[in-house]
Subunit: 322 residues, 2 copies
């Protein structure tokens, strides 16, 4: 559930004068995005998203996020793009917070993706990876392999209360991944959080990708691994090979998956499963008082991690590539 | 803060087939309305509000609320109106709840109304009272004078913990109002909750009235009294006679305020202040566990009640009518 900062009327009217989008029609707080306050903003120029960046987002990262959306959009990816102020800036300030106005992207996320959705996802992900080339600002992944053990240490004491044997499972996996994490794979800008809520479809056709607030520079194939975890398992946590096959094959038609990327996929899937397991475990054990969010159960990612541990080779993900 | 019921994709697509508004573009949960789940629904036919009626709304009242919006809109009031199903019905069912699609009303509520806003409010309120004539379904006011003592009894034990002497203030007021509540004033359909969040303005011109889920049959002047309480006090709870004057004079230009209505206004203001004091007191003392809402402090309505108790005659509200 999003935060809602109250925006004083007069301040909003003045704020809009900095932009070339006409006058205010309506503003409605929307239930989208966990880290920021988001509003649907309608003006003479149509519908936009107004975002106030709340404390959990590092303001120093905003030029990366906003610049990236502009760069991707200019390079043909369907995604929201920042509306510039008259001054040419992308970032402004409203209600005491950094803020931006972003174009409105039509479409709706799907809660139960089909193989057809996964096929389109694969194409769009590869398009995003290509479109990200040449983007000059860099942002390291703050949640990669070296960050997982410190993150785990904050939850270690409570981990066995969540699932029996969880602490050993995680510690063994950390040790394994720290020694075996792939090196030298192709890197670039990755989305790093491309869950079904961040992909819009319009009449079953992918209409765009949103929410670049975890985007960073890392191995491109790690982004594929995140998508396999987020899109290719059923509600009972069983793996759906048809969906993974659709995702991988369609990705490969847009950006060829190299041999070494292909080989590394199972371990990247393990790493991605562990990364979401660790953040969910932390959130599960540290629900703030008066929280508006029910934390997601880490059990889902325990099951996914165990599945990937059982995988012997990438062919088990169903791809017709190698 | 509104409730958000998750709507399964396939169910939503099927649901829209019952209507003549084309296919789904997007659906976003919005932070509007406390009793229901509200979504901005965009389809081939444009923007709408989709409402799921949650448990706090009595389903038997829905034909009154929806029928009223249609009636008022047909009679020229700017307000949302239910989009009929192909079957002609206004009410349907989605995600296991009664539901309706309502037209989208452009505009934005103001948080700090000026006298100019109050002037437009007065006109619109009188227009609503006239437009409500001839509406055949009836709904008694469930929060009128006879309901206040039972409501108070549920909070009586805790009331002095909220403010010193509150229990005596309320008991004396109940006794006074029960003996002196006006009889025989003109009745009709009243909005009964016309706070600033329920009135939209577009470029400082009133664009419409929303949220008819407290509407009922009662004395028309009681609705004016509610608006005086909701619009004509400052943040420090001081009364702003300029705003009340603007509201009353403009109302009177559209629907004449009778002599007996004029005389009864101070006591109706006292009753209205007590009504909101009592519901806020109850909510304040009964915050449900895990609530998403910070209850409103009852102190505001203690101050307003005391102000109206001090009023000797309606002329103190500034109206140039009598």
């Amino acid at each position: 559930m999003a935060v809602y900062t109250e925006i004083p009327d007069a301040e909003l009217v003045d704020y809009l004068k900095q932009y070339d989008i006409g006058e205010l029609h309506s503003l409605k707080g929307i239930a989208e995005g966990v880290e920021n306050s988001n509003y649907l903003l309608s003006t003479d120029a149509g519908m936009h998203i107004l975002t106030l960046y709340e404390k959990r987002v590092n303001a120093n990262d905003l030029p990366f996020f906003l610049g990236l959306m502009e760069h991707l959009s200019k390079n043909g990816l369907e995604c929201p793009q920042p509306i510039p102020l008259k001054s040419g800036e992308q970032l402004s300030k409203l209600a005491g917070r950094p803020s931006a106005i972003i174009s409105f992207l039509d479409g709706n996320s799907v809660r139960r993706p089909t193989p057809l959705h996964c096929k389109q996802l694969g194409e769009a992900l590869a398009q995003m990876h290509l479109a990200g080339e040449g983007f000059e600002i860099k942002r390291p992944n703050a949640l990669s392999v070296k960050d997982w053990r410190p993150l785990y240490n904050m939850s270690a004491a409570g981990s066995n209360s969540v699932a029996e044997g969880l602490s050993k499972l995680i510690e063994d996996e950390l040790t394994y991944l720290e020694s075996n994490w792939p090196q030298g794979l192709k890197t670039g800008v990755i989305h790093a959080d491309l869950f079904p809520d961040n992909v819009f479809f319009l009449k079953d056709k992918l209409s765009g990708i949103i929410d670049f607030y975890f985007a960073c520079n890392d191995m491109l194939t790690y982004d594929i691994a995140i998508c396999i975890n987020a899109w290719c398992f059923e509600a009972d946590h069983s793996f759906n090979v048809t969906k993974a096959q659709a995702l991988l094959n369609s990705y490969d038609t847009v950006r060829t998956i190299d041999k070494d990327e292909y080989v590394a996929l199972p371990i990247l899937c393990r790493g991605s499963a562990l990364r979401f397991l660790l953040t969910r475990l932390y959130d599960w054990l540290n629900v703030p008082e008066g929280a508006l969010v029910v934390p997601k159960n880490p059990a889902e990612y325990i099951a996914k991690l165990k599945f990937h541990q059982s995988v012997q080779s990438t062919s088990e993900y169903g791809a017709d590539i190698s």
